[in-house]
């Protein structure tokens, strides 16, 4: 079992005829994901890889192919529009990979999200994977293994690092959720932890955060209050200089808030085993889990 996505998930890729959209749609299909449709305005009627129908609109993909999940790959100036189109078409789960969406566009998207029951993951994220069943995003499939560890992270490659450590220790993942590195995202750490906490097949949780904002502190409060499952974690950016954006739009310590130290303290206070270095994430998990 898993959260968010599984073997029955029917995925539409927006921006499927673009270079990276096409590349990753193909990778996801090879992994076994049910990519049922693509959307590129003006290219409706084409077949992607000779089998996946391309539509002009997301509604077309929903009505004709029963798509219930979208993977957004369109370039930043048009990404918010694509997300809003997915919302309007009744897509339940929208996974936005696009990096570099203006924060103002995301503020509007976030408001519109509140009017629906849809969930947005990202933007600026690697996507979501339930190993062995469904991969939606840009993560390398082979480092994952089906299992019972839920992983949530703001960073792409740092997640791969954690996944790989867990896999090398002989454990697998229920679902891995990349929530993205932007200051405004659809799903935050607390939302993801809640999902894992309520999923009977997730036994342990790894939460990876970084400097900026207070999502990790809020999640720690939730963990302290509600989560009995073992939780391990890591925070990147202990040595990042204040006031500088560290690659991710949301990774910035400003006015003394959003520091790694504050996040680590909050996590430890909630009983999370925090890895001292990114090499120790797997070990921290075993310690929390008592394995």
């Amino acid at each position: 079992m898993s959260v968010l996505v599984n073997k029955d998930t029917r995925v539409v890729f927006t921006g499927i005829t673009g270079k990276s959209g096409g590349f990753h749609a193909k990778q996801c299909m090879e992994y076994g994901t049910q990519v049922v449709a693509g959307v590129t305005p003006g290219k409706g009627g084409l077949k992607f890889e000779d089998k996946v129908p391309v539509f002009n609109t997301v509604t077309g993909a929903v009505e004709n192919e029963g798509a219930n999940t979208a993977c957004v790959f369109v370039p930043p100036p048009f990404a918010a529009d694509s997300i809003l189109e997915c919302l309007d078409a009744g897509i339940e789960l929208i996974i936005a990979i696009t990096e570099g969406i203006p924060v103002k566009d995301m503020a509007i998207v976030k408001r519109k999200l509140l009017e629906t029951n849809a969930r947005l993951i990202g933007p600026n994220c690697p996507g979501v994977i339930t190993p062995g069943e469904c991969k939606i995003g840009i993560m390398p499939g082979y480092i994952h293994k089906p299992g019972t560890v839920g992983i949530v992270s703001r960073s792409g490659t740092l997640t791969y690092e954690a996944v790989w450590q867990v896999t090398c220790l002989g454990y697998g993942q229920s679902t891995c959720i990349g929530i993205g590195g932007d200051p405004i995202n659809g799903t935050n750490h607390t939302d993801a932890i809640k999902l894992f906490n309520e999923d009977p097949d997730t036994e342990a949780i790894v939460m990876i955060g970084e400097i900026g904002g207070d999502a990790e502190e809020k999640a720690s409060e939730y963990i302290k209050e509600h989560v009995k499952k073992p939780v391990a974690g890591f925070i990147a950016g202990t040595t990042a200089p204040p006031g500088r954006r560290m690659g991710h739009a949301g990774a910035i310590v400003s006015g003394g808030s959003g520091t790694a130290d504050a996040k680590i303290a909050a996590m430890e206070d909630a009983g999370v085993v925090v890895a001292k270095t990114p090499s120790d994430m797997g070990a921290a998990l075993l310690e929390a889990w008592g394995k």
């Binding site: 203006p102 103002k104 792409g156 791969y160 200051p183 690659g247 270095t277």
Partner: protein
């Protein structure tokens, strides 16, 4: 992207936000004409750098204060001469300071009381927030800590924008009355319009002042913009001042590389922002110090990797390099080719530790092994960090 105060004031003018009349120049010859364009009276001479704390800053030649009040034209010119092309050190510049290349002259204002006003994107509510305080001209972080009851906020629904009642509400909370409350509300309203229309990250007016003739104006202006939205603001991109940026960071931006110069001696080249930060952290944990943050992104080409190496090596502090790649989209053999090409192109003479993991890792390792370049390979991130720290420590 940050801009200078005088540029922000130009935007303020466009949006009908009152501020003292001013004129800026980078040329000594124009000091006189700038001052002559202002009304007679006191002149404020302001160093233009992208850092706060200018007033309390010190120039490297000992001259005190990056913002000075002059009683006469001669005195103003004298101050300006001391500031121009001099290096100003403030709490925000770091010990190296910044060279002042533009001077901004403004008319002195008749200050009745100082206030604080800012608009920024609030992460917790994913919405813009107006922040105001009766305590102006001081650090807002300090006010927030010591007297949080003196800070007022109004959260804005981004779909409908700031409403008039919200702007009035802030004005009344700040203690304004009658027509002056209306003037303050109008200033807040226009400032929000500017914030929203220009895709600003933050606009800060510290202080906003009330004047004894019943006016309200912005005495200072600090504005930064969302870099992701600059593509739709060609006019704002014109404000970019390359003198305020590290030349290595400018070079990196040309190749779409995320590079930030730091103080240490171990350069790192990593794919992904989170992993790049974590790599800096683990270098520090092993007893070293990173010379930079460098994220080559998810799909870097050999050309980008070569550019990255050139930028890293142009930093004279660098004594060793750590390459840490977890190939997902990016395949390890592509990175290996980039490293080999770069090593040939830039005559690599610094110790290099490479840790590769992920897609095509065996092929990547093989390419490096056969390249003839002197490389220490590592199996894990911890192993890699310890190796480069030890090598650099032993050589120095």
């Amino acid at each position: 992207m940050n801009i200078h105060e005088y540029q922000a004031k130009q935007l303020f003018e466009t949006y009908g936000i009152p501020c003292p009349k001013g004129a800026a120049t980078s040329s000594k010859e124009e000091f006189g004409t700038c001052i002559d364009s202002l009304n007679d009276g006191l002149v404020v001479v302001k160093s233009q750098i992208h850092a706060g704390g200018r007033g309390k800053g010190t120039f490297t030649d000992g001259f005190q204060g990056g913002v000075k009040l002059a009683n006469s034209k001669d005195e103003a010119i004298d101050f300006a001469n001391r500031m121009l092309n001099n290096t100003l050190v403030t709490v925000q510049t770091g010990p190296a300071g910044r060279e002042v290349q533009t001077i901004y002259f403004t008319e002195g204002a008749d200050i009745e009381k100082e206030y604080y006003l800012a608009i920024l994107m609030d992460r917790a509510t994913s919405a813009p927030v107006v922040v105001a305080s009766t305590e102006g001209g001081v650090e807002i972080e300090k006010v927030a800590e010591e007297t949080p009851e003196k800070i007022f906020k109004a959260f804005v629904d981004p779909v409908i924008g700031l409403q008039a009642y919200q702007a009035r509400g802030i004005a009344f909370k700040l203690g304004f009355e009658g027509k002056q409350a209306g003037a303050c509300a109008k200033l807040i309203f226009n400032l929000y319009k500017m914030f929203w229309e220009t895709d600003a990250d933050m606009v800060e007016v510290n202080p906003m002042i009330s004047t004894s003739d019943g006016g309200v104006m912005a005495l200072d202006a600090k504005v930064s913009f969302d870099s992701n939205a600059l593509y739709r603001h060609k006019d704002i991109v014109e404000f970019r001042d390359l003198n305020e940026e590290d030349p290595k960071e400018i070079e990196a931006s040309k190749f779409d590389l995320n590079y930030i110069a730091l103080d240490g001696n171990i350069a790192c080249l990593v794919n992904g922002a989170g992993l790049a930060m974590a790599t800096m952290d683990i270098i520090n944990h092993c007893g070293g110090e990173a010379a930079n943050f460098l994220d080559v992104g998810g799909g870097a080409t050999a050309e980008q990797v070569t550019a990255a190496f050139k930028i890293i090596l142009s930093d004279p502090k660098v004594e060793g390099i750590l390459v840490n790649i977890f190939g997902g989209i990016m395949q390890c053999d592509v990175i290996a080719e980039g490293v080999i090409e770069a090593a040939k192109a830039v005559s690599l003479d610094k110790p290099l530790v490479v840790r590769l993991e992920g897609t095509n890792v065996e092929k990547g390792k093989q390419l490096l092994a056969e390249s003839g370049i002197e490389i220490t390979s590592a199996d894990s991130l911890a192993d890699a960090a310890q190796k480069i720290v030890d090598i650099v420590a032993n050589e120095s």
